[in-house]
Symmetry: D2
Subunit: 342 residues, 4 copies
Amino acid sequence: MTHSIAIIGASGYTGAELIRIIATHPSFEITALAANSKAGQSMSTVFPHLRHLDLPELVRWDQIDYAQIDLCFCALPHKTSQEVIGALPRDLKIVDLSADFRLRDPLQYQAWYGNPHLAPDLQAEAVYGLTEFYRSQIASARLVAGTGCNAATGQYMLRPLIQNRVIGLNDIILDLKCAVSGAGRSLKENLLHAELSEGYNAYAVGGTHRHLGEFDQEFSALAGEDVKIQFTPHLVPANRGILATGYVTGNGHDVHAALSAAYGSEPFIEMLPFGQTPSTHHVRGSNFCHIGVVADRLPGRSIIVAALDNLTKGSSGQAVQNANLMLGEDETAGLLMVPCFP
Amino acid sequence: MTHSIAIIGASGYTGAELIRIIATHPSFEITALAANSKAGQSMSTVFPHLRHLDLPELVRWDQIDYAQIDLCFCALPHKTSQEVIGALPRDLKIVDLSADFRLRDPLQYQAWYGNPHLAPDLQAEAVYGLTEFYRSQIASARLVAGTGCNAATGQYMLRPLIQNRVIGLNDIILDLKCAVSGAGRSLKENLLHAELSEGYNAYAVGGTHRHLGEFDQEFSALAGEDVKIQFTPHLVPANRGILATGYVTGNGHDVHAALSAAYGSEPFIEMLPFGQTPSTHHVRGSNFCHIGVVADRLPGRSIIVAALDNLTKGSSGQAVQNANLMLGEDETAGLLMVPCFP
Amino acid sequence: MTHSIAIIGASGYTGAELIRIIATHPSFEITALAANSKAGQSMSTVFPHLRHLDLPELVRWDQIDYAQIDLCFCALPHKTSQEVIGALPRDLKIVDLSADFRLRDPLQYQAWYGNPHLAPDLQAEAVYGLTEFYRSQIASARLVAGTGCNAATGQYMLRPLIQNRVIGLNDIILDLKCAVSGAGRSLKENLLHAELSEGYNAYAVGGTHRHLGEFDQEFSALAGEDVKIQFTPHLVPANRGILATGYVTGNGHDVHAALSAAYGSEPFIEMLPFGQTPSTHHVRGSNFCHIGVVADRLPGRSIIVAALDNLTKGSSGQAVQNANLMLGEDETAGLLMVPCFP
Amino acid sequence: MTHSIAIIGASGYTGAELIRIIATHPSFEITALAANSKAGQSMSTVFPHLRHLDLPELVRWDQIDYAQIDLCFCALPHKTSQEVIGALPRDLKIVDLSADFRLRDPLQYQAWYGNPHLAPDLQAEAVYGLTEFYRSQIASARLVAGTGCNAATGQYMLRPLIQNRVIGLNDIILDLKCAVSGAGRSLKENLLHAELSEGYNAYAVGGTHRHLGEFDQEFSALAGEDVKIQFTPHLVPANRGILATGYVTGNGHDVHAALSAAYGSEPFIEMLPFGQTPSTHHVRGSNFCHIGVVADRLPGRSIIVAALDNLTKGSSGQAVQNANLMLGEDETAGLLMVPCFP
């Protein structure tokens, strides 16, 4: 059975990545593409790498006939997303890739994003889209909120450890290195090749990155108490990839065992042998997440390193994985492409 | 029907790319992987990006039971390849990715590669693997010689123009820019990140690059007279991609028309609208080749720019395309992955 | 003796490069920095790599007291530059880095840049700033027009050959590969790291790049007849560097001899031994230009490859070299920094 | 007064960087260059970016007449370095860039480097070369041991804080991101452009990196008690640069104040305003180190970020700074080149 798919916000990187994945998906067919600022243009103009595909022309999102759509991906900026989704039919299946429905508490949303939420009812309805941990709710959800790409990486590393109390909860430090596509196709000076290539830096230092809202919400819920981690993202000169280095207190072998137990049957999470750590290059362009654990020379401390592709497992791949569940397809359908190395 | 596939030379980049493609191929199954220098190792050690795949362990090529193999890819260095293929069963279907069977004339082989050919009978048997132009011969071939990656790019640009005499044959200049994976996984100083990143240069300048042997052979055969082009490759700081800029005499619109006519129904060759030129980023990781034509301000001169991924359309993707034909499968099977941009 | 220096347009890459060079110049002192859009800001905000320097705050260009200035560098966009320089004192020594005074013929200026020239008297007064060929005029000039970075590279390669008729004048092809800083600090989609890294492409194909106006003017004047070359620039994923590959008819040894004779005593132009060609990495961050010559396998044809740093020898280094001459200093003062490799 | 300088181990990156700096040093003159494996070659062959310099040919280190040498830089691999320096005249001033004389305790040396030290007397004589903290001893030293590049970065960030007990000593975490030239010009698979570009990873995870020996030695001496930090280096796809992110307990403003007090009059250490953090791009090719401090959202925790160029301030620039002191020159002589941005 073929599902009719719409993408709103198709002119950004996550939109392009959705199309890249869906183009070879066995049962998804793209029937509508929207990007208000580029309505009327062809996708081959906006993204020449898609020129061989027979794709519908870009339209405004309100020009789509949603009655014909089985599932809609929404890849808009936060704040815009809640406006648009608020105006879409209430029976339309939606996977939202923005930040708008990740936080369940309207006050937390406002605290992290600076504006009051315009669709708190949808916020309540939305299921958090970290597939491996919300699988059954996602399968029956109408509206799924894709996670932050950094938030996904950190949670893959830490959720089983927090849940099983394998590590201390008061001194978790997450040092994350993110490639530039995580910032989207926005015209900012620091995203220019001339500024970024041969340069790298920390940003949002000190606990101001918005994905901390997701960590706080999820980790505290898991632990049944307030858990607040330290989180420092860095921008590195690469196009795709997140490498997260976690510093925790806890026995290395216990940490490795807990993660291995949690992910033993997961199709997309690969545990490396104890003592090995991953590289972003080895997950590039794929839906896989590689995780490694090392015991530090200081007794009782461990280092965990996780790698995934921010555009795929961190965003559009996760979105398709959730859509598969929502539409009753095999969860891995369309998502088994091998990492593109070198 | 599933075909049993072996890969000899699986520890290099073209070997890894074959596995990347075949892993999601609907009817190919990898049953043997050989790499003499790494026999006994697992592929996940040699290429960690393949760790999620259930692949056979690396063996020596003489340990494979070829009676069980439907088709064998051979991704060895030239000279080694002719030795190995010479020792394989004579009824085994083989796609060779080396340079050993590209040149039909043993003297030309010796002139360009410096050593006498050890298997001239196989050289005579081999079919040149530029799919779009040798399709029927490939379909019935036992041994197919994959083309040089630069040679493929230049021929896509020039064959229809030479065949149809749309351009002058005495002043064809091909200025080619190749990414670093074209040099393979060899440990050479100039391939180090520290040497290549932020640097680029010409090499094999003056007509010494071995792929010229293929150009001479193919273009002269097409024209029915001696055709010798100028060809200068350059190494640029990127991992994948070939961008070839061709300078020819001939009317731009005629050039565009001839190429458009030649490739109108080809699944992997995309002609850009007249006046537009491609980028390597838009074919990255895919089996597509994009070609654009511009008329120069000087009357009667045209510029053609072609882009493809050296590891895919220039090598392993081409090899799978040929294997599809040899095994009676759809020519595009397993090869429709969308370019990985950004 | 210390010369008081002003820089107008100090917030762009060529402005920053001027400051980088002048900061260690033995007799230049920066006393004023202007950038209208960032007036009031400190240079360490605009360019944090300059934070250790004791630099004046950015002002508007009309706030500078030019009576205190010995020489002014003007690093504004073209068109703006002619307006500003038209309003500056007519006895102020100026090195302009824009395109506004490179073309001596107002009609040619209008043809290439699309707008009528607003200061044709200054256009007539300006000396073309290709130091090695206009040395004595520059030394006595009041207003010097810095050359285009591509135009400089091509001229270093070709002027001695055209002047001495060592090569044919009707079939000169220049294929140029330029790093991204040549496009300035402008916010354009194709200059983003995510778009450019791992991608490269031709642009302004077919003879539309404005630096062709300089080639036409200079080569025709040298030859005493109309000379029009083919010129195709390419954008490559690197921050600094121009590599130009020239295809000419002419004997390789004659070509090498003519260039060697022309540059034998030049401090910044390095001829490589016959048969060798340069890399951009080996001139990075320096004022040197490396040139190599190879004879093609086709008799009577030669390939010339030249490399320089577009921001230094192609722009700000050239500007300081000219300023040294205009102020009676040693031509190499402040310019002998060694290329920054790796 | 001109000092006659020899460099042993001139064919590696730190050797090339020494030459880059010394070429424009006002009072140093290179009179001998040694590299045993490349003896007899010219430096322009080994490093084409140095071709404009009039440098002595490479010789074997035992061919140098040390009686004519005022100071010798030794840029050999560890273990080789102690053999060579052990054989040099005992009155020759030496700045060693290897790891051989950084650790004062022979047992610690053996523990970290795996081999017994062959010159324990020289080990005792050597002064640790972190200029800002060993200035007077260096000025009167005969043999100075250059620090590890990672070790320098971490110490600039942490020494004043440990010494002044501004931070807790039991939970210091240093997450460091190093560019590839730190690994030298060695032919290793993971240093290839094709492997590293678009990929990044942790290495020596868990406290096995040898620079920890220096941290242990120096921090424990400063504190008067055993101090052991956690240290995880990462390899990122850039040529030059170290970015170190430190996680400490301590008040952010106190941390910033302590560092500002320590470095207020240092010529090469730049403190950023509180709340700002540096980028490696802004110190590239220079001898500067930029340090920033941010208070975390979690009370009592601070993040410190330091950036320097591993080849300059982390190695060869530091070496020249020390040589200046040893020869009675201004400490900053030859070292004020501005970072090469972009």
